[in-house]
Amino acid sequence: MAEPISAPILRRADYRLSEEEQALAEAFSAFFERSCPSERVRAAEPWGFDAALWAELAPMRPVAMGLPESLGGDGAGLVELVLVTEPFGRSVAPVPLVEAAVAARLLAAVATAAPGGPADAWVNQVIDEHKVVTLALQPGGGPQLVPAGAVADAVVGLLGDELVLGVCPAERAARRPRNHGFAPIAWCDLSDPECSFRPLWSGPSARAAFERAVREWKLLMASALIGMAQATLDIGVEHARSRVAFGAPIGSFQAVSHALADVAMAVETGRRLVRKGAWYAAHEPDEDVHRVLMAYRYATQTAMTAATVGVHVLGGVGFTVESDPQLYFRRVKGWTLVAGDPKAALSDIADALFGPVAIAK
């Protein structure tokens, strides 16, 4: 456990991307911009999945890239993955990228630490067949809403101290609720015999791997949220430059320009928090876990504020379903709340920074 701050900390604070990182970010930006205009997002409503888009994306190996080369992956890590999920979020693409990337890394951890089980084959299927495995974010049995559960080929979760993997039966539609974010969430119960959950790995390391996977989900989602915030900011700025009211572009009114400036500040700062969090998670995993939680908490707030400002700056038009800010407005909340109250991150940060609560005497 680290004190949050002590002076002077002699660490670099270099947020710049390397040339490779820059190329990676640009390649995925270009892909999502080209392949996933907002019409395609709308076309996938209300179920939030575009299988063709997933197939188009697959050759870029956004999931395989995060897996070790020893298992057939590309050996990249969280630093690279957040560069991919930011443009993914910017386009709110209807594909389960965050879940698939995180669950695959968890399976890879199992296949590495405890080879010989079903995880090995699933890793291959993820890489070769672009199968989607997702992560049940809440440990334990009982019904829970699982992100990407409605489109996943398998679900990984933690039951007791045991990592388990299950394949739910075909009548998935019944488990798939309509929802605020038009997301392919599904009801899933790790103790449901119908889904034939099988053990993958057990013990403290399995639990730690699960907890790390949940943090990775929050990290990649934080980056997606920053992308979503950037997108609504861009829409708002464009509108504020061109829309005229009271004889002037509305962007010349501080009520508009300062609201957008606040979002711009938060987006840029949130992006830096994400990158710093990703670097620590990649290079010093299981230490300073508060950084990922901080990035996640800040990103949820930033994206929600950005979406609200985006809807508002566009005025009445922003409130119509034809406008794009509302796409983000729904998904910011809809994609994240499945992980539970985002404000709970503060209590988690407190645990990480200040240690556990003392037992009452």
Binding site: P143, R178, H180, F246, A248, T308, E322, F329, D341
Partner: protein, 391 residues
């Protein structure tokens, strides 16, 4: 100062009972389901049932189509209908426009429309906003050109909510493009038969409309007030919509939970409280968690603040409160708050999910919250008018 319980006379108690019975009969689950489906803010059966009892204009005398109700009874009626979530957007716009019709309409026009308003057969919608003018209402470009005893109207209006259920639009037109922007406007109570209505759906699930006026011809008798002085005609309904003090002071002084737009947040808090008081399988209740209690208390405080607020400030405060409360209560309740009305596992019939979407619109209705802050700064604080120069 007086916040005491109002003593109700027998007649008012009976009236209240009648209103409750009416709501049970007419604001049925079917009506609500249809409203959630269509978002039209109107139900013809309900509206006519109100008209049949004189409750569209409840304080008017019976012989004029009203119910001879006291202001207190009218307030009870409104509060009960609101609590029942009766779809009454079009009732609201109709009532909002009526004073301008009475003040500026010719006797012929009034005779033609007013009885229908009272009975529910005639409804009005608001034709202010255009694709290129929202909060800056006076920038309207829809043209009205005189041609003998008629006017030829050409233009396009946005967000004419309820147009599909109304007979007339309270229409803002430009009759003199040469004059300063507030001096060349004329208002009409424009019949909608010739207009083309295209639906627009909102994030909040409401249906509103674009309305195209393509060289439609309107007899001069539908003009309201003098030519080129439409701004004066518009100001009454606009001030009412902007909740300027003269209006709220005349309203019956009844404590209305949540203020202007916050009533939906009141129900949101009730939903969250019900959730918080439910025990999980281990017998734990969220409401026993200090962090949960604090947030629920903050929501209750926010709602009370909106309740006591008034005028343009009340508009801003209740709208922003609803946005904030919806967001935080949704977070607090967690994943199941994402499920909409109709999903079995939805919390409180999906009310928070709906509120989170709906609340966003309240910051724009009748002018954005930015405009209301301008109003407060300029008219109440006497600060100089803001008017940026383009860069």
């Amino acid at each position: 100062m007086d916040f005491g319980v109002i003593d109700l006379d027998e007649e008012t108690v009976a009236f209240w009972a009648e209103v409750r019975a009416f709501c049970q009969t007419h604001v049925t689950k079917e009506v609500l389901d249809e409203e959630f489906e269509t978002g039209s803010g109107f139900n013809e059966g309900l509206h006519k049932a109100l008209g049949a009892r004189g409750w569209i204009l409840p304080t008017w005398p019976r012989q004029e189509g009203g119910a001879g109700a006291t202001p207190l009874q009218a307030a009870i009626l409104d509060a009960e209908l609101r609590a029942a979530h009766a779809p009454l957007i079009t009732l609201g716009t109709t009532r909002n426009v009526l004073p301008a019709v009475l003040r500026w309409g010719t006797d012929e026009l009034k005779k033609a429309v007013v009885p229908g308003v009272a009975s529910g057969d005639v409804r009005f919608c608001l034709g202010y906003t255009e694709p290129d003018s929202g909060s800056d209402i006076a920038a309207a470009k829809t043209r009205a050109v005189r041609d003998g005893d008629e006017w030829v109207i050409d233009g396009q209006k946005m967000f004419t909510t309820g147009a599909q259920n109304c007979q007339y639009s309270f229409l803002l037109t430009r009759t003199n493009p040469e004059a300063p922007k507030h001096k060349g406007l004329t208002m009409f109570l424009c019949p909608l038969e010739q207009a083309e209505i295209r639906p627009i759906r909102t994030l909040g699930g409401e249906r509103t409309n674009m309305v195209f006026y393509d060289a439609i011809r309107v007899p001069d008798r539908y003009r309201l007030g003098p030519v080129d002085q439409g701004w004066m005609v518009l100001l009454g309904p606009l001030n009412a919509e902007h909740a300027m003090p003269e209006d709220t002071d005349s309203a019956p002084p009844i404590d209305q939970p949540g203020g202007m737009y916050g009533y939906s947040a009141v129900e949101g808090l009730e939903v969250a409280l019900a959730w918080a008081r439910s025990a999980d399988p281990d017998g734990r209740r969220p409401i026993d968690d200090p962090l949960v209690r604090e947030r629920l208390a903050q929501a209750a405080l926010d709602i009370e603040v909106a309740t006591v607020s008034t005028g343009p400030a009340g508009r801003v405060i209740s709208s922003e409160m609803a946005i904030r409360v919806a967001e935080d209560l949704m977070d607090l309740v967690g994943p199941r708050a994402l499920l909409p009305r109709g999903e079995d596992a939805a919390i409180g019939e999906g009310w928070l999910e709906y509120l989170h979407r709906f609340a966003q619109g309240t910051a724009t209705y009748g002018g954005t919250t930015d405009i209301f802050r301008n109003i407060i700064a300029e008219r109440f604080l006497g600060l100089p008018r803001q008017a940026p120069r383009a860069g």
